[in-house]
C-alpha cells in the first residue's frame, strides 16, 4: 500500500497549527525558561541570604596541643571568608570555639555534649585523640563505628557544608602542629600551607592549513558543565514537550471517534505520520526559539564563545530522530489505550528514554570517553541525550566515528519503531471498549 505525502503533510500542518495557536503552547514557551531561570534565580537569592548565625563548637583535645592550632587555622579561615570582598557583607557564619579536656568517661562526656547540641547551645563538638599527630593515617573504614583519631559530632544532615568547612580547618590545624614538630618556623606556616591557583587549559593544536600552532584555551566552568548540561536538558525538555501530548491526543481522538472519520480519508500510516510530523514541527519551533534565545542571552552576557555551535547540527539530527521515535511509540500506545486514564499509566514508558539519561549525567560527565559512557551513548534509545552531552563538552574528545555510528543506530531504531508503531496503530486505533494486552501489542507490531 502506498502513502500519499500530501495527506501526511496536510494532517501535520493541521496538527501543528492547532498546537502552536493555543494559549497553552505560547504560555508554556515563555514560562519554561522563566521556570528554569527562576530556579537559578532562587538559588542565587538563597546564596545572597546565607545563614550567618554564630556557630559554637567544642573541641576535646586528647592530643593536648592541637586545639589551639585548629582554632587558629579556623579563625584565619574565618577572617578570610567571613565577608564578601566587594560588598563587605557577612556571607559565612562566625565559628566560635571552646576547649574541654577529655573526661574520665568519654561516653558520658559525648552524651552531655550531644544534649547541648540537641538544645542548640552548640553547633557541634570535635574529639581529637592522641593519635591525631601520628604520621601514619588511621585506616579509614566507614563501617567501623569506633571513633578514629579525630571525630566530629553534629546534628546536621544533607550535604553538611559546615562539616566540610570544619574538616578543612581541623586538617589545617593538625598539619600546622605536625610541621611545627618537624621544626618549621611557625611564622612561615601560613605561607607554606597556602593553596596554589591552578589554571586549567584544553589542548594545543596546529592549524592544518597554515601549520600555525594555536594556544590552548582556558577551561571555563560554564563551558565545562553548564553548556553541555543545558544542551542535554534542552534536548530532553523539547523531546518530552513534543512527544508526551501525543499519547493523550491520540487517545482523545480515538475516544471522540474522530479517528474513524479521518480513516475514511487517509490510511492509518498517513494519519500516524501526519500526527508525528505535526509534533516534530512543534518541537522544532520550540527548540529554535530556545536556542536562538539562549544564544542571544549568552552573547549579551559576553559568553558567546562558550556556545558549541558545532554541536547544533547533531542536536537537531538527534532531536528529529528522537521526536519521531517517541511520537510513533506514543501514537501506538495511545491507539492501544481504551481511555485517557490508561494513557496516563503508560506515560512512564515514554519518559524512560529521556529520564534514564538524566540519571546518568554525572557518571557520563565524569568519564565522557570511558567504555561504559561510550557504550551507553551508542545504545539507540539513549544516544540522542548522551551523545549530545559528550559532544557538547569542550575538548570532549569523542572520536569522529561515534556520533555517526550513534546517529545511524538511532535512525535504524527509529525506522523499526515507526514500522512497528504503524502496525499497532492500524489495528488498535478502531478497537473500542477494551485495552489490548501487552502480548497483543507485540503480536500486532510483529505481524501487523
Amino acid at each position: 500500500m502506498s502513502s500519499n505525502p500530501h495527506r501526511i503533510l496536510l494532517i501535520a500542518k493541521r496538527d501543528y497549527l492547532a498546537t502552536i495557536r493555543t494559549k497553552a503552547f505560547i504560555i508554556g514557551l515563555m514560562v519554561a525558561p522563566l521556570l528554569f531561570g527562576g530556579g537559578f534565580l532562587g538559588i542565587a537569592l538563597m546564596q545572597s541570604k546565607p545563614d550567618i548565625k554564630e556557630r559554637r563548637i567544642v573541641i576535646i583535645d586528647g592530643a593536648g596541643e592541637v586545639a589551639a592550632a585548629v582554632i587558629q587555622a579556623a579563625q584565619e579561615r574565618n577572617a578570610k571568608e567571613l565577608f564578601d570582598k566587594t560588598s563587605h557583607r557577612q556571607v559565612q557564619p562566625r565559628y566560635v570555639f571552646e576547649t574541654l579536656p577529655p573526661a574520665a568517661d568519654p561516653q558520658v562526656q559525648r552524651l552531655a555534649l550531644s544534649e547541648r547540641v540537641r538544645r542548640q547551645q552548640l553547633f557541634a563538638f570535635v574529639e581529637i585523640g592522641p593519635a591525631a599527630l601520628q604520621a601514619a593515617p588511621h585506616a579509614a573504614n566507614d563501617k567501623d563505628s569506633t571513633p578514629g583519631p579525630v571525630s566530629t559530632y553534629s546534628n546536621e544532615g544533607g550535604f553538611d557544608e559546615a562539616g566540610r568547612w570544619l574538616s578543612g580547618s581541623i586538617d589545617d590545624g593538625i598539619r600546622r602542629v605536625r610541621l611545627a614538630q618537624l621544626g618549621v618556623d611557625p611564622s612561615r606556616l601560613s605561607d607554606a600551607l597556602a593553596g596554589v591557583k591552578i589554571d586549567r587549559f584544553g589542548l594545543v593544536s596546529r592549524d592544518p592549513k597554515t601549520g600555525e600552532i594555536h594556544e590552548a584555551s582556558k577551561k571555563n566552568d560554564v563551558a565545562e558543565f553548564a553548556v553541555p548540561f543545558g544542551i542535554m536538558l534542552l534536548l530532553g525538555m523539547i523531546v518530552m514537550i513534543g512527544s508526551s501530548p501525543m499519547l493523550s491526543a491520540v487517545t482523545e481522538d480515538k475516544a471522540q471517534r474522530l479517528v474513524e472519520m479521518l480513516l475514511g480519508m487517509a490510511t492509518p500510516f498517513e494519519l500516524m505520520m501526519g500526527k508525528v510530523l505535526g509534533a516534530l514541527g512543534t518541537s522544532l519551533t520550540s527548540s529554535s526559539f530556545y536556542i536562538i534565545g539562549g544564544t542571544l542571552a549568552l552573547e549579551g552576557m559576553g559568553l558567546a564563545g562558550v556556545v558549541p555551535f558545532r554541536v547544533f547540527p547533531w542536536f537537531y539530527a538527534y532531536l528529529i530522530a528522537d521526536v519521531i521515535f517517541l511520537c510513533s511509540f506514543a501514537a501506538a500506545l495511545g491507539a492501544g489505550c481504551g481511555s485517557p486514564q490508561d494513557a496516563q499509566q503508560l506515560a512512564i514508558l515514554l519518559l524512560a528514554p529521556v529520564m534514564i539519561p538524566y540519571f546518568l549525567i554525572t557518571f557520563v560527565m565524569q568519564q565522557p570517553n570511558g567504555a561504559i559512557s561510550t557504550a551507553l551513548s551508542l545504545f539507540p534509545p539513549f544516544t540522542p541525550m548522551l551523545m549530545v552531552l559528550r559532544q557538547a563538552m569542550p575538548g570532549g574528545g569523542v572520536p569522529a566515528w561515534q556520533p555517526w555510528v550513534g546517529l545511524l543506530g538511532v535512525l535504524a531504531f527509529t525506522l523499526v519503531m515507526v514500522v512497528a508503531a504503524a502496525r499497532i496503530f492500524r489495528v488498535a486505533i478502531l478497537v473500542q471498549g477494551k485495552t489490548p494486552k501487552m502480548g497483543e501489542l507485540v503480536r500486532w507490531a510483529v505481524r501487523g
Partner: protein
Amino acid sequence: MDAVRISNVTKAFGAVTAVDGLSLIVPEGSVYGFIGPNGSGKTTTMRMISSIFYPDSGEVRVFGQQMLGARSELIGYLPEERGLYRKMAVQPLLEFYGELRSGRKVTAEVVNWIEKLDLAKWASQKVQTLSKGMSQKVQFIAAVVPAPKLLILDEPFSGLDPVSADTLQSAILDLRRGGVTVILSTHDMQVAENMCDRICMIFRGKKVLDGTLESIQDQYGNDTIRVAAEGGARFLDGLPDVERVRDLGQVQELRMARGCDPQQVLRALVDRTRVTSFSIMKPSLHDIFVRIAGPEAGEAQIVQ
C-alpha cells in the same frame, strides 16, 4: 459496472466473527440499504468497503478495483459516530477534510454545500457550538465534498429531528439522481422502504435478505392483514389461523398461518366486533425484520 462487489468475505475480531462468508453486489447508481440488528456486521461491512478494515478472506471490489487499503476520493464515508474537530470552525474543517480526501482545494464545493444545507451563518463558528443535527449536516458535507461516486452512510439519520432528516434525505436522493451510488445503514425500516432500491439484511454476520423491497416481500406472500376494528386489539386474541397480532394503536397487523383463508378471519372478526377497515397485504419490512431477528425467530435462512 457494479459499484461494489463483495465475494465470500469473512472478518473476525478475535473469537468473534463479525462478517461470515458475505457476498453481495451493489448496482451502480442505486441506493442500497443495510438493515440488521446491532452488532450484526453492517458497520464492519461498510468499513471494509471503505478500506478501513481489510477482510480476513474474500474480496471487496469497488468499481471493479480491489482497494487494498488505499483511499480514494471516489468514496465518501460518513461514520455513525460524530468525528469532528470540536475546536475548528465549520468551513476550515470542511476544507481540511475535503482536501485530505481529494488532494486539492475544495473551497467552492464547501461553500456550495454549506449554503445548500443552510449552514452559512455557522460557517465561521466552532463545531463545539453546533447542535447534534447541525453537526451531522457538517459531517455529511465532509463525506460528499468533493463529489464522490460512492457514498457510504452509516446511520445517517440517527438522532436527527424530522426537518434535518428530510433535508439530508433529499440531499442523498439528489446525489443519487446525479449518478452517485449510495450505501446506507439504518434501523428505521420506513427509511429503508422509502429510499432504498435494494435492501440487504445482515444477521449474525451473514446475509439473510437481499433484493428489492418487492422481491423480499414476495418471499413471504400476502400473509398479513391490516385491520381497524372497534375495541382494538382486545377483540383479536385467539382468532383462528392467526399466528401473531401486532398492535400499532389505531390499527393492528395480523400474521396469518400458511394456507389460511383470510375470509375465515374476517368472518370470525365480524362475529366479535364492528370492523371499519380490513386489507390483505404483504408483510412490512419491519415485520420481516422481526420475524428474522426477533425473539421468536428460529435460525435465519441464509440467502446466497
